[in-house]
Amino acid sequence: MYGLVNKAIQDLITTNFGEEKWKVIREKSQIDIDYFISTEPYDDSVTYQLATAASEELGVSVDEVLFLFGEWWVLETSLKKYGGLMKAGGSSVKEFLTNLPVFHDRIKMIYPNLTPPEFKIDEEAENSLVVHYFSTREGLGGFMKGLLSGIGKMYNTPVQIDHIFGKSSGQEHEAFKVSW
């Protein structure tokens, strides 16, 4: 995971719970990193550790932390830092999600050391589609849901996200139905 992601978590916590809380969580996570460099790849475990520590410290489940973080990633980090890029993704939830595979293909090109997830989009109806999510990483479903919800909020379109199936149900990848 690139530093950008961990930085976003740090940002989420400091903004919402204060600098002190972040310090506590960071110490609790037992990671010995003072500063995340956005474009530097970090081990995925760092992210899990942070999420776990935050979950413990904030008294919410890891999934919830990841969901919060997903939304945060879209609405705060991406929109603020990658505003132009996010907007270039499309002018509606549907367009954005449709462009998601292309988008990640391009990311893969730009960050050679990154293994971005792969997406496949099945258009279902005018106001819903299914996002197939292929990732080598485990347990980031909550993050994914947060991201989708954030995208909905980005376009002022409340979305409903249903986890249709995933590894827990014996499938090889996760699938989310997004309706609005």
Binding site: S38, K81, A88, G89, R106
Partner: protein
């Protein structure tokens, strides 16, 4: 293409876009049809102009160009030329410099080809930005940490206590200045050594060193005190704080120790402990409990362990501080905590608190907690505090209750605006005043309570009497109620209502209670209302004054009202200004000033409006303009206005616009000089009413003045124009007559007024007329008429009267008004004019009659002569007889020509000659004329020839061929006539040619006697030949040339004569004639009569002249017609009753019954349609028409020739005749105009009587005719009737049969027919006939 180059576009060789990729279209819309050059401009390479061939050739080149619109997007790519297809394609993409521009241009990543790396590049650029941000943040973080470290190092070094760092073996790695200072070592002496090596001495407590070392090696913090030695061998009590420093991973870094010299502290602690013991003992007496708190051990001890007010006992080890804190009520605990904190921070050294605790039995107790520091450390921080707890519950409860009561009362009194008071009686010293008193009087409470002197001081000086009244009323009634004014120290005046009442105790008045209410506002409202009411009343009064006042009072009344209103509103000056907007000035028209105030009217004339623009602006909007304080105008930026107002001493003013409809006329204003004044809305409203009243009254004055002036103007006009004005009532009684009328009528006014105008002024006839006019007035009819008036002195005057109904102001008819103009002079002129006109007409008529008579008188015998000689020529005659007959014939013909000439001339003169416009051949006419004249020329041995004929002349010209023929005949016959030898030549020439017409010149030249220039130059007199001898020699009427000239003029031609006496004459006539064609030629119906068809036709010949009957019968007899004759109409009618005819030839003028009447009877009574041809010698213009109207079928003028009658017969019997016939001569007998037979039979030989009667007739007829015409022209038909009646007998007596019936008809019909053509005819005919008779009589 769309997928790989979604931004591509193709365009033709002119640069017109043919197609484009989807993403480009998404970005810019459909660009098809637009031109490259309108859309884009090249950035690189710099192209001078858009050139397709350059683009086509530069396939390898990269082009950069920008859109001219929509964000000026840059494109990068290359052009490819498809020559065969004739277009170029741009292959490339927009080139954005940041990812943000993608969405700004309405695009998303899917609009780019998947292989297009632009998005990735932009992404990378974004990343680069992020990395840079990261780096900045990182540097920031490092800097911050560095600064913190430095701060820490500084703290350590600046610490007065000794600080040292040791490594894991206990060797010193760092010492601060404090340590070196305290121990006296230098840095180099200690670094690398252990603290024990340096500081251990003989008295150093070894057990403590041991403990310290144990903690150090266990890497645990420690704190202990021991004796530490200095370099100089002395020692101090050192308190050492040790602390291992680990990194985040728990790895040991170094050991940190702080060394403090506590020698002095220890000594003072001992001293305090001793003092404490003593102090505690003292305190135990002063409170319920003595407590003591040690800040070091944080232990609290109570002296009173039993019976304390917490209500329970406690053990030695009980944490009393905790217990106490827990017992304190939650809301009070902060007091204690704050207090505690203050002690700990060294802010206080003693305290006193009151708070509540909850004792074990649950009761709340108030505690007074006092304490004092009894021991402090060297920094002034307390080490030990000692104090007492006292139970103050009861005291507190009592206090609280009191407060509650006070609060309740206070809140009531504080809220109270009215002042409730109580004073002693009779001294009136203050006992109690509600706080509101301070506000009301503007005094403080102390003043009220001090003494009674303030009562009088606060009363407004004018209301001071109220104090006495209060006192007396109190004494009398024990209570009072007064309204009066008070004045605050600030000078504010207030109205109060003061109500008071004595309070008795044990029957003795001890004090007085009362209430004071501020009624200022109420009072103000009342005053305002009163003032408004009063203002209203004044306005009502003014308006009634205005309504009833006379015009000459207006100025005075306006002045008065200014005074009244001005005084009322408290103004010092009131005025009215009028605006002259054209001149941009305003002037004062009325002014009132208070005594002592300067009058400004003289200074305020033609004040330029530019001085007061705001003023005018407000007024133009219909708003008042007011200045509350002139002194403040500066601040409002109205300095100019101030400069106008200030010299007049004005402080405040208001100016109300005076608007009439939408026109701004002026304003009424009020100045306050002595004091400022602000006007209320209501006041302004009422002042507007006042302004309106002023306008109304001024308008009334204006309009009444205008009315007055108008009236005066009209009156002047009437009197100057000498118009008599007469006003009468419904009974024609004179109400008023102006001076002119009196003069006109010849009566003084007093002789007119009250008298009946009709009786006084008019004769019976006029009266009748006037009364009918008066009747028409009732219907509102105005009209004008003329009337004859006889003045009392007998003078006859003519008046022109214009009468109109007269109404009063309730629109009721009260009579009529007549305006009288004396038109006697005009009337005289008119009569004269009529007379002259009549005379002129008479003479003209005489001429006409002369011609007619001549025609009649000559033609009648000529008819017989021509007719008979024609018939005679058919008989067997000897040579001599033939010569005689020929002479008769030619003489008759000559005479006929003369008559014709005369008639032509008279027609020409009368303008009755009309011209034809038909096609004709000039050449043919010329030929005929030459032919006609040839024999005569031959007789005289002259050559008559056409010398030249211009072939350019149009074959057919338009015009009157008969008149041209006549002209030529006249001229040629003249030429022949006046030429003895030589020749007469005619030539025709075209002078001008235009598309539609030609100017023709016909020249007749002779070698005759010629004429004198003086004779012919423009002076061809009628009836003249140059020399009367010529007439005798050559004969003729001498009219030929005159007629020719007239005819040429009539045809708009020119007539020129060149002549030389004895040499010859050249006559040239020029005409401009329109060109015609064959179609314009009249169809010439060949005259052919089949004589056999006439045979046996029955013809009735009616003529009173037997010669004429003879001519007609002789002619018609040839055709074997069956002929009947009648001597007059009556006979004809009788014959017609008996017998039918195929044709009637009817003479017109016949005795007994004329032809017209007979025709009428035949048509109407006998209902016969037989053709009737009129025969008449009165061959005047229009005659034919007249007879055809009377029911006749044709017209034949006498004398007629045989062929003329044949033509008529041919027409009537509709057959053709071939043979020529000879005319027959006829004559009409002259009818007598009058006869004296009757007169003479009455006279029975008395000639004198006859003469007298004739004279009488002469006078009567002339006057009677004059009057008759006058009356007829004056439309007085009744009078006409009367006159006709009067002259009828004399006409009868004189047997003037021609008009005797007509005069009877006139008498009978004129009132019915009035001004009809028939009546006019009769009158003019009567006049004509009577004149003839009179002429005749005169001659006799």
């Amino acid at each position: 293409m769309n997928r790989t180059f979604p931004f591509h576009f193709g365009f033709d060789e002119k640069g017109q876009i043919l197609f484009l990729g989807p993403s480009l279209e998404k970005m810019f819309g459909d660009l098809r049809g637009q031109f490259f050059t309108d859309l884009f401009e090249f950035e690189r390479p710099k192209l001078q102009a858009f050139d397709v061939s350059t683009l086509a050739k530069s396939r390898e080149q990269t082009f950069l160009f920008r859109s001219k619109f929509r964000n000026k997007v840059l494109f990068r790519g290359q052009f490819d030329y498809f020559k065969d297809a004739g277009f170029l394609i741009f292959l490339g993409t927009p080139w954005f410099s940041s990812i943000e521009e993608v969405s700004k241009n309405g695009l998303s990543i899917s609009d780019f080809a998947p292989l297009d790396p632009l998005i990735d590049l932009l992404h990378l650029i974004k990343n680069q930005e992020l990395v840079t941000d990261d780096l900045k943040e990182l540097v920031q973080t490092i800097n911050t940490q560095k600064q913190e470290l430095e701060k820490l190092a500084y703290v350590a070094s600046a610490n007065a206590d000794g600080v040292l760092y040791t490594d894991s073996e206990g060797k010193i790695t760092y010492v601060n200045e404090g340590f070196l200072y305290e121990t006296g070592y230098s840095k180099s002496e200690v670094i690398g050594k252990t603290p024990i090596e340096i500081g251990r001495g003989p008295k150093t407590e070894n057990d403590r060193v041991e403990a310290m070392l144990q903690a150090f090696f266990k890497k645990e913090p420690f704190k202990l005190e021991l004796k530490m030695y200095r370099k100089n061998g002395s020692f101090f009590e050192a308190r050492i704080n040790g602390q291992p420093i680990l990194n985040t991973q728990g790895k040991f870094l170094h050991f940190f120790s702080q060394i403090e010299n506590v020698t002095e502290e220890k000594a003072s602690k001992k001293r305090i402990r001793d003092f404490e013991d003593t102090f505690r003992k003292v305190l135990e007496f002063s409170g319920d409990n003595v407590w003591e708190h040690d800040f070091i051990s944080e232990k609290t001890v109570f002296s009173n362990k039993k019976n304390n007010f917490l209500g329970f006992e406690f053990e030695q080890e009980t944490d009393l501080a905790k217990l106490w804190y827990e017992s304190v009520l939650e809301e009070d605990i902060s007091l204690l905590k704050e207090n505690d904190q203050k002690y700990r921070n060294g802010l206080i050294s003693s305290h006193q608190l009151e708070y509540r605790i909850k004792s074990q039995d649950g009761k709340i107790k108030w505690v007074k907690d006092r304490g004092i520091v009894i021991e402090k450390d060297e920094n002034g921080k307390p080490l030990k505090v000692i104090g007492t707890h006292s139970d103050i519950t009861e005291q507190k409860n009592a206090q609280e209750e009191l407060l509650n009561v006070n609060k309740k009362l206070g809140s009531v009194l504080n809220e109270l605006k009215d002042v409730i008071w109580s004073v002693t009686y009779p001294d009136l010293n203050g006992i109690f005043f509600t706080p509101s008193a301070e506000e009301l009087f503007g005094l403080d409470m102390d003043t009220f309570m001090r003494d009674n002197s303030w009562w009088e001081k606060v009363i407004y000086k004018e209301d001071l009497h109220v104090l006495r009244e209060i006192i007396s009323e109190v004494e009398e009634k024990s209570e009072y109620e007064k309204k009066y004014r008070i004045q605050t120290p600030e000078g504010q005046i207030k109205w109060v209502q003061n109500k008071g009442k004595l309070i008795f105790e044990n029957g003795v008045p001890v004090r007085m209670n009362g209430i004071l209410v501020d009624i200022t506002d109420k009072k103000k409202t009342e005053e305002l209302l009163e003032a408004q009411e009063e203002l209203k009343n004044i306005l009502i009064e003014l308006s009634s004054t205005y309504i009833n006042m006379d015009l000459d009072e207006v100025d005075l009344q306006i002045q008065n009202s200014l005074h009244q209103i001005g005084e009322f509103v408290g103004a010092d000056r009131a005025y009215i200004f009028k605006y002259d907007l054209d001149a941009s000035t305003t002037s004062c028209t009325y002014e009132w000033v208070q005594q002592g105030i300067s009058e400004e009217i003289a200074n305020t004339q033609d004040v330029p409006l530019e001085f007061i623009p705001q003023w005018l602006e407000a007024h133009e909007k219909g708003e008042p303009f007011s200045v509350e304080d002139v002194a403040l105008l500066d601040q409002q930026g109205l300095k100019e206005l101030k400069d106008v107002l200030e010299p007049q001493g004005i402080q405040s003013l208001i100016a109300i616009p005076m608007m009439y409809r939408k026109e701004l006329l002026g304003f009424v204003g009020f100045d306050s000089v002595n004091k400022k004044h602000t006007y209320s809305n209501k006041e302004i409203e009422l002042l507007f009413v006042f302004a309106q009243m002023l306008i109304n009254v001024q308008m009334r004055k204006q309009s009444e003045t205008r009315l007055f002036h108008q009236e005066e103007k009209f009156r002047n006009i009437i009197s100057n124009m000498n118009l008599g004005l007469l006003e009468v009532d419904l009974n024609e009684k004179v109400l008023h007559a102006n001076h002119t009328f009196c003069e006109m009528a010849g009566y003084p006014l007093e002789k007119l007024v009250g008298y009946k105008a009709t009786d006084l002024l008019l004769d019976e006839e006029s009266k009748e007329k006037l009364l009918s006019k008066s009747k028409s007035r009732i219907d509102g009819i105005s009209d004008s008429y003329e009337m004859k008036y006889q003045r009392p002195d007998g003078e006859i005057r003519w008046w022109y009267i214009s009468g109109a109904p007269n109404y009063n102001d309730k629109n009721e008819l009260i009579g009529s008004i007549g305006i009288h103009l004396d038109i006697t002079e005009q009337k005289r002129l008119e009569v004269e004019l009529i007379r002259q006109r009549e005379e002129a007409e008479k003479s003209k008529r005489a001429k006409e009659i002369f011609f007619a008579n001549m025609s009649h008188e000559i033609r009648t015998p000529m008819n017989a002569i021509v007719g008979m000689s024609e018939q005679m020529a058919k008989t067997q005659l000897d040579e001599k007889q033939k010569v005689f007959l020929s002479t008769i014939h030619s003489s008759a013909n000559h005479l006929t020509v003369i008559i014709k000439d005369i008639l032509d001339l008279s027609k020409l003169e009368a303008g009755k000659m009309t011209l034809e416009s038909i096609g004709f051949s000039l050449r043919e006419i010329l030929h005929k004329v030459i032919q006609m004249m040839n024999s005569r020329a031959e007789e005289k041995g002259l050559i008559l020839e056409v010398a030249s004929y211009d072939l350019r002349l149009n074959p057919i010209l338009m015009g009157d061929p008969y008149r041209i023929n006549q002209i030529l005949l006249n001229l040629i016959s003249n030429a022949v006539k006046f030429t003895e030898k030589g020749k007469v030549q005619v030539s025709c020439k075209m002078l001008k040619d235009s598309p539609d017409s030609q100017e023709v010149a016909i020249q007749i030249s002779d070698t005759g006697i010629g004429m004198d220039t003086s004779f012919f130059q423009g002076n061809i007199e009628k009836f003249s030949q140059e020399d009367s001898t010529i007439t005798r020699k050559y004969g003729g009427t001498g009219l030929g040339l005159s007629i020719t000239k007239e005819l040429v003029d009539l045809m708009d031609g020119k007539f020129e004569i060149k002549s030389k006496k004895g040499i010859g004459t050249q006559v040239i006539v020029k005409f401009t004639l329109a060109k015609g064609t064959e179609a314009d030629l009249p169809v010439d119906i060949p005259f052919e009569v089949n004589l056999h068809k006439l045979k046996g036709k029955r013809v009735l010949i009616v003529d009173d002249n037997e010669f004429n009957r003879l001519v007609a019968t002789t002619v018609l007899d040839q055709f074997e017609m069956e002929l009947t004759t009648a001597n007059h109409g009556h006979e004809a009618v009788s014959i017609c009753r008996e017998k039918d005819f195929d044709l009637i030839l009817m003479d017109i003028q016949m005795p007994v019954m004329d032809g017209v009447k007979a025709t009428q009877i035949i048509r109407e009574e006998l209902k016969k349609g037989v053709p009737i041809i009129a025969l008449t010698a009165f061959a005047m213009k229009g005659d034919e028409e007249k007879y055809l109207k009377k029911g006749m079928n044709g017209f034949l003028a006498k004398p007629f020739q045989e062929k003329d009658i044949l033509k008529i017969l041919g027409r009537v019997f509709d057959f053709e005749a071939k043979d020529s016939v000879k005319p027959i001569i006829h004559r009409d007998a002259k009818k007598r105009l009058y006869s004296l037979d009757e007169l003479e039979s009455i006279a029975k030989g008395n000639k004198e009587f006859v003469d007298k009667m004739i004279k009488l007739f002469q006078t009567n007829a002339r006057d009677g005719m004059d009057q008759l015409k006058l009356s007829f022209d004056g439309y007085d038909f009744t009078q006409v009737k009367k006159i006709a009646h009067r002259i009828k007998p004399s006409i009868k007596m004189m047997r003037i049969s021609e008009i005797s019936e007509e005069v009877a008809e006139l008498e009978k019909e004129v009132e019915v027919q009035q001004d009809s053509p028939r009546m006019r005819f009769i009158i003019s005919h009567m006049e004509e006939v009577l004149n003839k008779v009179l002429e005749d009589l005169k001659e006799k």
